[in-house]
Symmetry: C2
DNA sequence: CACAACCTATATCGGAGCGATACATATTGA
DNA sequence: TCAATATGTATCGCTCCGATATAGGTTGTG
């Protein structure tokens, strides 16, 4: 389970609760890793069962207790081992591309709306978590900096391509005879 | 199951066997949808059970029979309905980015090797299925053309970024003191 | 002030999904 | 000769994750 691996990774930077880990996933890893509570809580429970992390209950005023996890020595070792054994993969699952592929079976305005939705989402990402200032970047490790730039490059390219091809696509979708180049 | 949806989609272009569908997935959809036999065969069986496709056994010389599937009228309707009800998503799951994020815990040469592996894979994709000639492109629907360009843009951006940042990353990973910009 | 909307916080379950594997044979290439 | 590689179908079990439940606090707005 890769979720276990990433949880171990973020815990190696400091103790955190499941909820905080989810937040972190959303801000720092959104462009390459998505995981919900349904993945994170079981992952943490499994890690605790294997002795790679320990949990500590922190009472909260008027809120349910927070379970704060810390990585153990064995967990750190395990993490490094697993990292060494992990093969680099990069998988995309895009219903957006699927919809575009069959755009001719969709009302044209629907296809274009999907396109606009994606552009908006990518712009949000670029302006949000991917849009750190230079000052913030100084605090990052080389790898974190690499990932940040990678996200910007890929998401930026997707956004740029969609914007650039919107008009030609609209033309091609709306009137069949005229070619759009 | 999205696999069911895509199977229905490719069958709407003509009858095909499970094996042929897998081939098609690998060549046409690799950059946005990955599915193995373990997804495709159950998907086809389910579609047949629902009456959305019909199967026909084609005897082969010296080979197991081929089961060729065709989409039914009901299947075509269902496909269009499902397309209309599908939300545009675009999800990335990248162990490569994960490895890069924690590159400081890896031997530097290992991190760089991972990077080179990915560059090679992306170049393969660009030269292969994403590298159609202009003549071939004329036969595509606007949506197919859009997806092809999208794949080129995104995969190309990933490749370019990795090549561009390789040297700075290597420098930063090898000697900590010097900043790499 | 009432009510909606959203945030913090944890947890489970059922079903989808897919990697690994098995089987059977023919061709290609070293 | 032996190892790959290609065609072809199929299943099993583990992983995974979306949806949902629970519970109260805070913020915002008409």
């Amino acid at each position: 389970m890769d979720t276990k691996l990433l949880c171990l990774g973020v815990l190696s930077e400091g103790e955190r609760s499941g909820y905080e880990i989810k937040k972190l996933f959303e801000t720092r890893f959104r462009h390459f890793f998505v995981a919900g509570f349904g993945s994170i809580y079981p992952a943490l429970a499994a890690l605790a069962g294997e002795g790679y992390v320990t949990a500590r209950a922190v009472p909260q005023a008027g809120r349910p207790d927070k379970r704060v996890y810390s990585v153990t020595e064995a967990g750190l070792d395990h993490f490094r081992e697993r990292l060494l054994a992990t093969a680099p993969r990069h998988k995309v699952r895009s219903e957006f591309c699927l919809l575009m592929y069959f755009a001719h079976l969709l009302p044209p305005e629907r296809a274009l709306a999907h396109l606009d939705t994606m552009v908006a989402r990518w712009e949000e990402m670029l302006a949000g978590d991917l849009g750190l200032s230079a000052a913030d970047e100084a605090a990052l490790t080389p790898g974190q900096l690499f990932d940040l730039g990678f996200g910007r490059a890929v998401v930026g390219a997707a956004r740029a391509y969609c914007l650039e091809r919107r008009a030609p696509l609209a033309a091609a979708l709306l009137d069949r005879p005229r070619a759009a180049e």
